[in-house]
């Protein structure tokens, strides 16, 4: 597509986009695209459009505010509806926020795609960042950390979307625009795929996290995060697994397993035990006399837990 990269065109389209702020995002995007196509078509009549040509085309289009006024006729719907309020409320809830809130927000026509993307990335990115930080700190998570995590992951994106909500006349139902072109259809498919890409791995990761936290190690005191698994170096055999807990960068020490143990699975009643679990002495200063419980499935470490005597 031969897009016109002229400064005046860019400024005009930005002004138009701003003037259309009261409209639902889908209509706003469509109108800006229509006008952009018009400018392309008009300038295509000039082999080498000069600044004057560009100015003439923009002058004939008229003041962006006139276009916005024409667009905001009596059928211009109010834009923040019960739907958006529900979506934001859902976004505030842990877990539900991702599973229900984010898809609802993507389904809404009130927000612009960019805002939806920023909010989703904030909601997902912040929790990944926080998990990584917590994992590398290797500490158990307290109430204060959970609270600040909630603020970051739920309140910040919800607050951003609330601020960026379109302000209509009243709470009313957003009218859907029938007969949209393939451009919007493609975009909707892309959006659905994006949401699936975000939500599905996130759900799986969350369920895996819940499964780990839900495990009751036989004599365990605390269960560490999956990130701890990285600190377990599989040796040549089960009897020679080096376990380094309590400090990054320490060298791996190979120790023999003490004995084979049974670890119950709290979350999967169908398979009530982890297949292959062993107890190891913890090497390090933090937990003298401590035990590390390591479970394997198909030669992968699936669970690491520490137990203090």
């Amino acid at each position: 597509m031969n897009r016109i990269r002229h400064r005046a065109v860019g400024a005009y389209l930005r002004d138009l986009d701003r003037a259309l702020r009261g409209l639902p995002a889908a209509r706003r995007d469509e109108l800006v695209a229509d006008i952009e196509d018009h400018i392309s078509a008009a300038l295509a009549e000039h082999p080498e459009p000069t600044d004057d040509d560009v100015r003439r085309v923009l002058d004939r289009l008229g003041d962006p505010r006139d276009i916005a006024r024409e667009a905001g006729g009596p059928d211009a719907p109010a834009t923040t509806t019960w739907f958006e309020v529900t979506a934001l409320a859902a976004l505030l809830l842990p877990l539900v926020g991702w599973l229900v809130g984010l898809p609802l927000i993507w389904a809404s026509r009130a927000w612009r795609t960019g805002d939806k993307l920023v909010a989703s990335l904030l909601a997902v990115g912040l929790v990944i960042g926080a998990t990584v930080a917590a994992g590398s700190a290797g500490e158990s998570v307290g109430v204060a950390e959970l609270a600040s995590l909630w603020v970051l992951v739920h309140l910040v994106p919800a607050g951003l979307l609330w601020r960026r909500r379109p302000r209509g006349d009243a709470l009313d139902t957003v009218r859907s625009a029938p007969g949209s072109g393939p451009g919007t259809d493609v975009r909707r498919i892309v959006i659905a795929l994006l949401v699936a890409l975000l939500v599905v791995p996130l759900t799986l990761a969350l369920l895996a996290g819940v499964a780990l936290v839900g495990v009751e190690a036989e004599s365990g005191q605390r269960v560490v995060t999956p990130a701890m698994a990285a600190e377990v170096d599989l040796g040549d055999t089960r009897d020679a697994v080096g376990v380094v807990l309590g400090g990054a960068g320490e060298s791996t020490t190979v120790v023999p397993a003490l004995d084979r143990i049974t670890v119950r699975r709290a979350t999967d009643p169908g398979r009530d035990e982890y297949g292959d679990c062993w107890s190891y002495p913890v090497v390090g200063d933090d937990d003298p006399g401590g035990r590390a419980l390591v479970c394997f499935e198909a030669d992968e470490v699936v669970l690491v837990a520490t137990a203090t005597p």
Binding site: D34, D37, G62
Partner: protein, 111 residues
């Protein structure tokens, strides 16, 4: 021009614009820029055609399809729907009556 004359003209144009857009689509599908050229300055701001087209589409009077263009990006072509055709016929009839009345009044006769 007398005070308010601009406003009257603008409203006249605005009121008849929808009729003209529907009429231009009677025999052939057209894309936005083509419609603007055919209207030849009827809209004081050419850009206002696009919100109008959007409204006509939402009201089901026109439909639109994307079609390849001989040069450049695909274009959104607007077609008159069956509803649009009925509406155009009704508008056309009303318009002839209105025009005759206005003409008689402007010529100094009685309506």
């Amino acid at each position: 021009m007398v005070a308010g004359g601009d406003r009257v003209l603008a409203q006249l144009r605005r009121g008849t614009l929808e009729l003209c857009v529907l009429a231009l689509l009677r025999d052939e599908a057209r894309y936005g820029f083509d419609l603007v050229k055919a209207l030849d300055g009827m809209a004081s701001s050419e850009g206002t055609i696009y919100p109008l087209l959007g409204r006509l589409r939402r009201d089901g009077l026109v439909s639109s399809t994307w079609e390849e263009s001989p040069a450049g990006p695909p274009r959104r072509y607007y077609h008159l729907t069956a509803d649009g055709r009925r509406t155009l016929a009704a508008y056309t009839e009303q318009w002839s009556r209105l025009r005759d009345t206005v003409d008689r009044v402007l010529d100094g006769g009685s309506p």
